[in-house]
């Protein structure tokens, strides 16, 4: 017979982590009927007769929020066999408030004192036996994160249900009133207390006479205690809890909590916002300017250049790809296919951070080692090589810490979905996928020797359309990955909760609801859940206003636009930070202006939020969150961007009569394309913003499908400019001969991939050497090259160095902007001002279709949806217009009608934002 157990507790008490630990993969998710609250259930691992229900996190059993109603209804109507009350041991007093109410329901209860590991760090100890005596129910210390105490908890869950816990004792007048209600209305203690508190739900069906009597009991209690009943009851609960806390806390920490010390600085009225700006700048600097930029530079210059380009030319073109390109292609593809399994394998080995090393090591070899003196150079190089080899061997042969492929003790040889990011992978699974995916990648790479010689149009749509578009977006993946990683770290360590606290202070001052903070913070990842998170705002006017403002914050999809414009201007981190704060500024200004309008007047929601203690985030959690975002980024590139790039290429290479324009050979012909002629219809609208050309106008429109599409469209429309004959000759003179080492690098640059490169290159060299020249031209080339004998005299070092030189081209100090940013810059499409204006417009205007759909669902009104979208587009236009025209005035001294209009608009915004609220006196 099934036993039903409910998990109840405060939000952030670790309930869900404990639930995941207890159920493993045996979970299901649905919806509680009538409310938009998730229902999570599952079976206890290896005990399928135990059904666990994870109730929503709540602070009390009052029926005011949907979560509270759901939990209360489940406990009182479905009456589970046992309630496991998950209590955050680091906030005992607050968490026991809910416990006191759970005790009054009369259901058997066990208290799981969670986060005991954090308690130990704070130097605090709780006497669980003493607590158990006070509450009248078993208490077990657990740490869901560190997986301690779980076995004891499971034993209690399997044992026969304990007796109902005793209830807390309240002051005599309160107890007297409770008894009167219990006897007079036949209510349980829980119901009696709730009726005294004035809960309407329980008073339905009570006749007028009894309702008057209840009111008399309340008034008598209020007179006796000189306070309102709700405060009396709440105060009585806390007094009862505080009366036994000193007996339970046997050892207190003597050192001041680090969190409080940090909060004194990080949430300071003046220093707090400054530190926040500095932190965000540092994050963007690290991710977009330095670490991420190395990866993006490599992706643009190497991966989507000679490697993918070479492979593609060999597959669909007429020239077989070189061995170096194929080796690199094979290695990158294998890495992509193995990466999810590798992450899960590292999780099984408890080495979650090692993936960072694996990705960064090649760049350290390339960019750090050359600058070190000789001995350090060798030591670092060999250390990195040895670590690489050790990691690979551990992945293949070392048993995992838990020996499991999923949470819990059940093991699986292979996961059902190897590309998933959660769970663990055993050595069997990893070694199999390592071999299989390596072979698949090798096979795919060999397609680069097929030379199918497709038609030029087909080659063009693939190379100049799809690869250019998708490659332009994916080129930013390294920067996005580092950014997502750093943002996940910030969120998990507890700092973002402090940011929400600081923003709440600011938002209340300007009339925005404090609860608007959460949707805005969520929108930093994606606008869709950000809009959905506005459901927590009860006041309809506040909710609508928040929906209209929340997508101003740059989401993850807008980051490639920031990176593109920043790269063009040459100040990526500064541009990204400015865009971020323009977004927040738009929220603040928008809130100040809209609040003055009648349709948004009034309404104020108090905001209660829990500030978790600062803690070092778990590597697995950061990995998972960052990788999920990266996976979504790549998925979008492979779906939406893929389709859009093909469509844009087609529309920009065919005219209305469907004649092929061959813009690769005749650039001017693009002006006759369908896309250009359509774009020219609405491009003049953007002339006052400084970018009245059809290409950026079209890119803005395609950005409505997905914001990354702006970059993808640029990648297609601004293809690399053809070199003039003089430039080509100069480039050929600078390029190293094939048999010449490109630079003075040595064995220190070797890595594991290079050994494979060497083997294949040697094999290819031998093959080429043995093949007779088919034409006189080829014979001439052969004599110019080294003879086969000389070729085979090349050392391992030579082979390795050449391969590495192809993989990591030397970056000149005065290197020009590369990739799509370089192409746009070379085309002279933007000035600095117009680029900024373009960026601001795209960040602030209507969000992508998915977010518009979310707005439509949450607004539940077409009229309001169009109003919201219209407001965003208008605001974006005005901000971009003011930016461009004001910039023109300050840089060139131009003062014309456009500048006057911009000044008037700016003045109008300031006046509307700062004027007194005419509706404030009414509330």
């Amino acid at each position: 017979m099934k036993k039903h157990i409910a998990l109840a507790g405060n939000p952030n008490s670790g309930k869900t982590t404990l639930f995941n630990e207890l159920t493993g993969a045996n979970q299901y998710v649905g919806n509680w009927p009538g409310v938009t609250v998730d229902r999570k259930g599952g079976q206890l691992t290896e005990h399928e007769e135990i059904e666990l229900q994870d109730l929503p996190g709540i602070y009390s059993l009052s029926p005011y929020s949907p979560e509270e109603m759901v939990s209360r209804r489940y406990l009182l109507e479905e009456k589970p066999d046992l309630v496991v009350n998950v209590v955050d041991a680091t906030n005992l007093e607050r968490n026991l408030y809910l416990s006191s109410q759970l005790m009054e329901t009369g259901l058997p209860m066990v208290v799981a004192l969670n986060m005991c590991d954090l308690l130990e760090q704070q130097g605090i100890k709780i006497d669980t036996l003493a607590l158990s005596r006070q509450l009248g129910c078993p208490v077990v210390a657990v740490s869901a994160l560190k997986q301690t105490g779980i076995a004891e908890l499971i034993k209690l869950m399997l044992a026969p249900a304990p007796a109902a816990p005793k209830t807390l004792s309240y002051p005599a007048p309160v107890e007297k009133s409770v008894q009167q209600v219990m006897e007079g209305y036949g209510a349980s203690r829980f119901e009696a207390i709730k009726m005294l508190e004035g809960e309407e739900l329980l008073q339905k069906g009570v006749d007028k006479v009894k309702a008057h009597a209840l009111e008399d009991i309340r008034m008598e209690l209020e007179a006796a205690m000189d306070d309102d009943v709700s405060s009396i009851i709440a105060g009585s609960r806390y007094d009862a809890i505080c009366s036994f806390i000193p007996q339970v806390l046997v050892q207190r920490g003597t050192k001041e909590k680090i969190s409080r010390r940090l909060d004194a600085v990080l949430t300071h009225r003046v220093a707090g916002p400054i530190i926040f700006v500095a932190v965000m700048y540092a994050i963007y600097y690290l991710s977009i300017n330095t670490v991420g930029d190395w990866g993006t530079g490599w992706a643009n210059d190497v991966l989507f250049g000679p490697v993918v380009g070479g492979w593609l030319a060999g597959f669909i073109g007429s020239e077989a790809a070189g061995v170096e390109a194929l080796t690199m292609f094979s290695a990158v593809l294998a890495m992509i296919l193995i990466f999810p399994t590798m992450l899960r394998r590292l999780h099984d080995l408890n080495m979650n951070g090692a993936w960072l090393y694996i990705m960064v090591a090649p760049f350290v070899l390339e960019y750090v080692c050359p600058h070190l003196p000789g001995v350090l150079h060798s030591i670092l190089m060999w250390a990195l090589l040895a670590a690489n080899a050790a990691l690979l061997l551990m992945g293949l042969f070392k048993p995992g810490t838990h020996g499991a492929n999923a949470y819990g003790s059940r093991t699986h040889r292979f996961s059902a979905r190897p590309m998933k990011l959660t769970g663990r992978a055993g050595r069997c699974e990893f070694s199999t996928w390592f071999v299989v995916m390596s072979l698949v990648a090798f096979g795919a790479a060999m397609l680069g020797r097929c030379t199918l010689e497709c038609s030029p149009q087909l080659q063009a749509i693939i190379a100049d359309g799809i690869v250019a578009g998708v490659g332009a977006v994916l080129g930013f993946l390294p920067q996005m990955a580092v950014l997502f990683f750093l943002m996940s770290f910030l969120e998990d360590c507890g700092y973002m909760a402090r940011v929400a606290f600081m923003l709440d202070r600011l938002f209340r001052a300007i009339g925005l609801s404090g609860k608007s903070v959460i949707p805005l913070m969520v929108s930093m990842g994606c606008g869709v859940p950000g809009v959905m998170a506005t459901r927590t705002i009860e006041n309809e006017k506040d909710r609508r206003m928040t929906i209209m403002l929340t997508t101003f914050v740059p989401c993850g999809a807008k980051l490639p636009i920031l990176a593109l414009i920043g790269a063009m201007i040459g100040q990526t981190a500064t541009v990204a930070t400015i865009a971020y704060f323009v977004g927040f500024g738009s929220v603040i200004l928008g809130g100040m202006m809209l609040r003055k309008m009648h349709m948004f007047a009034g309404g104020y929601n108090p905001f209660v939020m829990e500030m978790p203690e600062y803690h070092m985030p778990q590597g697995a959690n950061i990995n998972l969150r960052a990788m999920e975002r990266c996976k979504a980024f790549v998925q979008k590139a492979g779906t939406v961007i893929f389709l859009a790039s093909a469509l844009i290429w087609t529309l920009s290479n065919y005219n209305w009569k469907f004649d092929y324009l061959n813009t690769a050979e005749n650039e001017a012909a693009v002006e006759q394309s369908m896309l250009a002629e359509t774009g020219n219809l609405f491009a003049p609208l953007f002339t006052p913003l400084g970018w009245g050309d059809w290409k950026p106008a079209v890119a803005t429109v395609t950005g409505l499908i997905a914001k990354e599409n702006v970059v993808g469209t640029f990648g297609v429309l601004y293809a690399a400019a053809e070199e003039s004959p003089a430039e080509a000759e100069a480039a050929a003179e600078d390029a190293p001969a094939e048999d010449e080492l490109p630079r003075s690098c040595d064995l220190n640059k070797a890595n594991t991939l290079s050994a494979l490169t060497m083997a294949l290159w040697q094999a290819d060299s031998d093959t080429r050497a043995a093949k007779p020249a088919e034409t006189a031209e080829e014979a001439g080339e052969a004599t110019a090259e080294e003879t086969p004998a000389a070729e085979s005299e090349k050392t391992l070092l030579d082979h390795i160095n050449y391969a590495v030189a192809v993989l990591f081209p030397e970056v000149e100090e005065d290197d020009e902007t590369t990739g799509v940013a370089g192409n746009v810059k070379a085309a002279g499409a933007f000035t600095t001002l117009s680029a900024l204006s373009f960026m601001l417009f795209n960040i602030l205007c209507a969000p992508c279709f998915a977010a518009c759909g979310a707005i439509r669902r949450e607004m539940n009104s077409s009229r309001w949806t169009w109003f919201a979208i219209g407001y965003m587009c208008l605001w974006a236009y005005v901000v971009a217009f003011i930016t461009y025209q004001a910039g023109l005035y300050f840089t060139t001294g131009t003062m014309g009608s456009a500048q006057l209009v911009a000044a008037l608009l700016a003045a109008g915004i300031v006046i509307q934002a700062l004027r007194p609220n005419p509706h404030k006196a009414k509330h």
Binding site: A25, D38, C454, G525, V528, F642, L643
Partner: protein, 50 residues
């Protein structure tokens, strides 16, 4: 023949991409990746099932 092979490959990829886009639209999920909103989106249903 080569053109036909490539067109078939492209058509298959395009079909898979369209199917993925339609599935996302139907689920109403978060295209931009989960940012830990706390389960207010249907993405969490799928992730939690995994």
């Amino acid at each position: 023949m080569a053109d036909l092979i490539i067109i078939l490959i492209l058509a298959t990829l395009a079909g898979l991409a369209i199917k993925a886009c339609l599935r996302k639209k139907k689920e109403g999920g978060c295209p931009g990746g989960c940012s830990g909103c706390g389960g207010s989106c249907s993405c969490h249903d799928k992730k939690n099932k995994e």
